[in-house]
Amino acid sequence: MIIKCPYCGPRDVIEFIYQGDATRTRPEPASDDRAAWNAYVYDRTNPSGSHSEYWLHSGGCRQHLLVTRDVSTHAISSVVFARDAAVSAKSGELA
């Protein structure tokens, strides 16, 4: 599998560390909603098809990437910096 790192270019998957499901939302830090925290920490769906996930380019720029990958074909449809995605998600919340 080759991941096209937005900073380093196309690189082999051995340079990356899988960092988990990127679809879950972390509850507000002060939240005491136990169910929401349980869902965030433990609950994972196992969809066939498109999935968004975090990958750390540990052997390259050390940026976390938000990768959209079809888990049944391994076809990667988009790779962006996780930081950028998180920033735009936050600004979306505010707006």
């Binding site: 960092q19 136990r34 925290w37 920490v41 950028d84 920033v87």
Partner: protein
């Protein structure tokens, strides 16, 4: 079967001879021969014994699809089993041996297995090794005992035990177009791509290019097609943008158009060139792949079809044309399609006698009839082979009338003398790589074969791999597949009009069965095994495959897959595409582990050494590995045991002063306006309140509330912190921080840098440590006012800038002195010199551990991924003023349960050592199983207490203090009475470190 060398023909060099041995006997062949062709030329037709029944087997195919003729190759003490004789090029001094026979190939005792045939049917192992359910042997290990012998009787070659002395190497390659195969399709596709300027790699598994052209009776531009192929290949290889790899088998197709291949660089040479690897492993990343992998001829299944002398029709042809070998004196052919006629034509042109062609079809074209008559072969239409007669090799076949529509055999059997029967059951495109790439193959009714799936990556198939079975359409397809912009002028092909579409006949099943009909030769799976599997409920192809092991041998069912599916579809009364097919997996052909490993064997871990490593070694340190780091365990002196050494070192620290290398601690530089806020969220305790120039002990949890790591973090400036982590967790903590910085809190302005290797650290501990610093540090005071507990100062030692923090892991007055890594030894030695008047003692990890166990300080042994802050009595570090990672989950019932294990100390009551990992039990007698209510995490002899002590995690820990129990270690045969005490075993008030 009496095979022999023809007087002419073949691409062998008849002017030279090559000597080799097979089963201890010397033979000779010519350069260009494979072991199979050379043995056939010497009249050898018995090559090995079969997997389960030890039946005599000969060569069946002529290439990588060979299921039977496997040998073990010996090079000195090294043996390589299961090498296909049809691919093994002979060289002077080659030593080979047949397989799965005892005591010899000719006389094999295990051939009695044939008589026990029904015992070894499908699912044999599953049925047998369940063991007897009733009777005297029930529940005994009797069957496991028998299994050893039964398993020995079955199998292929034995793996060697000698170390492989050969060298292998790995190559990464990049190209625009990778062409797999260099038959007519591969050559033209490569040329089409290369002439557009693309970077092209062509991989050919055989020693020469040409594929089907090498044994073709056609003419290309009026010339011998093998010569045309050779010249085309040479012209391509000369192009600067083309790399032509021969003897290179592409064996795997992975995501992202990554393909793997093995190149046989020198293992076919008698004297390997110095410096050349035996094999080279290629990982090719390509923009586009052209799969021109050709097609495999498949057999028709009929009774007695496995004796030496029964071969694929195309193999008989290839031995004659490519190697100048007649596989028999009187060759007969058995077919359901036209391609056997092309073989007949080529064979008779080469001077091989074809006596009869048996065709299941009731009518054939005029071209076919003409070929039969020119070849002088009797044409038996609407007939089928229903049996063979063979001792160790074929002597005659039985043929009977056959109706291809009904599949019924009728009429009187007729015996035809023949020593070689060439069978053609149609052609299966070699879709292995395409299937690996992920698509589901499509069934083609016309070809009665699976065609490659729709591409799901950037690849195409061409030539016979794509279902084009005649050279003219192969060439025109290949030109467009090679490049859409191709303007190649295609050569003129002269070929007879033949139709490779077979009649849908896969098995001849006479009503009376006297002989086994084999489907998978390499795993000895018969047509009846498939029917048995069906009767026993294994209907899906996936179950069929696993239950019968059909197609699971080293040849991965190249010849057996489609006939096996056809038989299953037939018993189920469905079509072959309804039955479906299994997915092919890498490798396409077996790959040696050496080639995959390349030069990556032995200890591959990086070795991390601290800046003072050489000093430690020069001063008789015994080191051990902690993660990747090499760290001093003890500094040995004459004849001391490890325990004596660490006791001496730890005592010196408590009495005067010691020094230890702490450079391995993880160090992360955290900077930015929001660095303090970031740390408040990461750590359970507060860091924003930490003044500049002070350090604080911090604890971090995982999201689920379990303790993760601890360490001190120093505030060097308003916006700059230096975090230290445990040695083992340095990488994981960095990753953890990066994840939260990148993905969760991108709004925090903070930057993280790993600086573990930037700093060298020396910790000096003991009542005299301050005096040591006073003697060597300039530029700062180090007294209790200038440098209080957890304070930080900057100064110089021996001219080197240092940063000193007063903190203690040992419980003594202690300091950590950091300097630039390059000056580590200089500062270390300066500290030693300053400590000389106080008999400063370097100490290793054992003493470090002893000091912390005495104090009850936790490390990774206690922060083990299961314990909470509460379990470790670190509740005081959990801030109630702010949320932090894990704070939301820490209050869960299960994490507050009274039954949880918590940290205590243990003191040995019988003055015997306690071993790490011992379980805590109440039973005074060691027994198994016992109820354990805790375990020992770390143990040592304590010089401060004069006792053997330990830390342990114990159920109801705190309320157990004062009780007695036993630390039991059945593995080391220890059962030690212990008293449970507080984990603060030494100086619980901490007066020494604050002093």
């Amino acid at each position: 079967m009496t095979s022999s060398r023809l007087s002419k023909g073949g691409r062998i060099d008849r002017s030279k001879s090559v000597r080799f041995t097979f089963d201890g006997k010397a033979y000779s062949g010519h350069p260009g021969d494979t072991l199979a062709s050379a043995l056939l030329a010497n009249g050898i037709t018995l090559f090995g014994r079969s997997f389960k029944y030890h039946r005599p087997r000969g060569v069946f195919a002529a290439g990588s699809d060979e299921p039977n003729a496997l040998v073990t190759v010996f090079t000195g003490d090294v043996r390589e089993p299961n090498v296909r004789t049809t691919e093994l090029e002979i060289y002077d001094g080659l030593v080979t041996q047949s397989q799965n026979r005892f005591p010899s190939l000719e006389h094999d005792w295990m051939a009695v297995n044939q008589l026990a045939g029904p015992l070894f049917s499908a699912g044999f192992y599953y049925k047998t090794f369940m063991g007897p359910a009733i009777g005297p042997l029930r529940g005994t290990r009797f069957w496991m005992f028998c299994e050893k012998f039964i398993r020995r009787a079955a199998g292929l070659g034995k793996a060697g035990t000698a170390a492989d002395p050969d060298r292998y190497e790995r190559m990464n390659a990049f190209c625009d177009v990778l062409v797999v195969g260099s038959g007519p399709a591969g050559l033209i596709a490569a040329e089409a791509a290369a002439t557009t300027g693309a970077r092209v790699i062509i991989a050919e598994e055989r020693p020469v290019a040409g594929g089907s052209l090498l044994a073709s009776g056609e003419l290309i531009d009026g010339r011998n097609p093998a010569v045309w192929a050779r010249e085309k290949a040479a012209a391509l290889a000369n192009m600067p943008n083309v790399r032509f790899l021969t003897r290179t088998s592409v064996w795997g197709y992975y995501d992202g158009n990554v393909l793997t291949a093995v190149e046989h660089v020198s293992d076919y040479k008698p004297n390997r060139t110095k410096g050349q690897p035996r094999q080279r492993h290629w990982v090719v990343r390509t923009g586009r792949t052209v799969l021109a992998t050709g097609a495999f001829e498949r057999p028709i299944v009929f009774p007695g079809n496995d004796c030496p002398g029964v071969m694929l029709a195309d193999a008989v042809r290839r031995f004659a044309i490519e190697y100048g070998v007649a596989a028999g004196n009187n060759v007969t052919l058995f077919t359901n399609n036209d391609s056997a006629y092309d073989a007949a034509r080529a064979l008779s042109q080469a001077g091989v006698n074809v006596t009869a062609i048996i065709d299941v079809r009731s009518d054939v074209s005029g071209t076919c009839r003409d070929i039969a008559s020119v070849a002088g072969a009797e044409l038996l239409l609407a007939h089928a082979v229903t049996g063979t007669h063979a001792g160790k090799t074929l002597s005659s076949i039985t043929v009977q009338h056959f109706n291809a529509e009904t599949g019924r055999v009728s009429g009187a059997p007729r015996e035809i003398k023949t020593d070689c029967l060439g069978v053609s059951g149609g052609w299966s495109p070699a879709i292995h790589l395409a299937s690996q790439a992920g698509g589901k193959p499509d069934w083609d009714e016309d070809l009665q074969a699976f065609l490659p799936p729709e591409p799901n990556q950037n690849w195409v198939t061409t030539g016979s791999a794509a279902g084009y079975m005649d050279t003219i359409s192969v060439l025109s397809d290949a030109a467009t597949k090679g490049s859409a912009k191709s303007r190649l002028v295609l050569p003129h092909v002269e070929a007879p009009m033949l139709d490779a579409s077979p009649a849908p006949v896969f098995e001849i099943e006479p009503s009376i069965k006297s002989q086994k009909a084999f489907v998978d030769f390499q795993h000895d799976v018969t047509a009846d095994d498939i029917r048995l599997a069906y009767r026993e409920g294994f209907h899906s192809v996936e179950h069929l495959k696993r239950y019968t092991t059909l197609g699971m041998a080293t040849d991965q069912g190249k010849t057996s897959n489609v006939p096996g599916l056809a038989i299953m579809a037939d018993v189920r009364g469905i079509t072959i595409p309804q039955a479906g097919t299994t997915r092919f997996r890498p490798p396409f052909t077996p790959v040696s582990l050496g080639a995959i490993a390349g030069e990556r064997y032995g200890d591959l871990r990086p070795h991390r050494l601290t800046p003072m490593h050489d000093w430690h070694l020069a001063n008789s340190a015994r080191t051990y590995e902690a993660g990747l780091w090499h760290r001093p365990m003890i500094y040995g002196s004459h004849g001391e045991t490890v325990e004596q050494a660490y006791t001496r070192e730890a005592r010196a620290v408590r009495q005067s002063v010691g020094i230890v290398d702490v450079s391995t601690l993880g160090k992360i530089d955290i900077q930015g306006p929001d660095a303090a806020e970031f740390l408040d969220r990461i750590y359970t305790n507060m860091f924003s309140t930490l003044p500049v120039g002070k350090a604080r002990y911090g604890l971090m949890l995982r999201e689920d509330g379990i303790a993760f790591d601890d360490g001190t973090t120093w505030r060097l400036a308003e916006t700059q912190f230096l975090m230290t982590t445990t040695t083992a967790n340095a990488g994981t903590v960095m990753q953890h921080l990066e994840f939260f910085s990148d993905c969760i809190w991108p709004d925090l302005r903070v930057h993280l840098t790993s600086v573990t290797d930037v700093w060298a650290g020396s910790a000096i501990s003991g009542p005299k440590s301050r005096a040591v610093l006073e003697a060597c540090v300039i530029g700062t005071k180090v007294d209790n006012v200038a440098l209080p507990f957890m304070g930080i100062v900057h100064g110089k030692i021996d001219g080197i800038p240092v940063m000193i923090c007063r903190l203690s892991f040992s419980g003594e007055l202690a300091y950590e002195v950091y300097c630039g890594a390059g000056f580590g030894t200089k500062v270390w030695e300066a500290l030693l010199a300053a400590g000389n008047p106080f008999d400063i003692m370097p100490y290793g990890l054992e003493a470090l551990g002893t000091l912390r166990i005495e104090k009850g300080h936790v490390t990774g042994a206690e922060i083990d991924g299961r314990t909470t802050a509460h379990d470790l009595h670190l509740d005081w570090m959990l801030s109630k003023k702010k949320p932090y990672i894990g704070s939301a989950m820490i209050g869960r019932e299960g994490l507050k349960d009274e039954n949880r294990l918590s940290l205590v100390g243990l003191i040995s009551m019988d003055n015997q050592s306690i071993t790490g990992g011992s379980h805590i039990v109440t039973d005074p007698v060691p027994r198994e199983p016992a109820d354990s209510f805790g375990h020992v995490t770390a143990a040592c002899y304590s010089p401060a207490l004069g006792k053997y002590i330990a830390l342990a995690l114990v159920k109801h820990g705190t309320s157990m203090i004062g009780n007695r129990a036993f630390a039991t270690d059945l593995l080391r045969d220890k059962h030690c009475p212990v008293e449970i005490v507080s984990h603060h075993m030494f100086d619980p008030e901490g007066s020494r470190m604050h002093g």
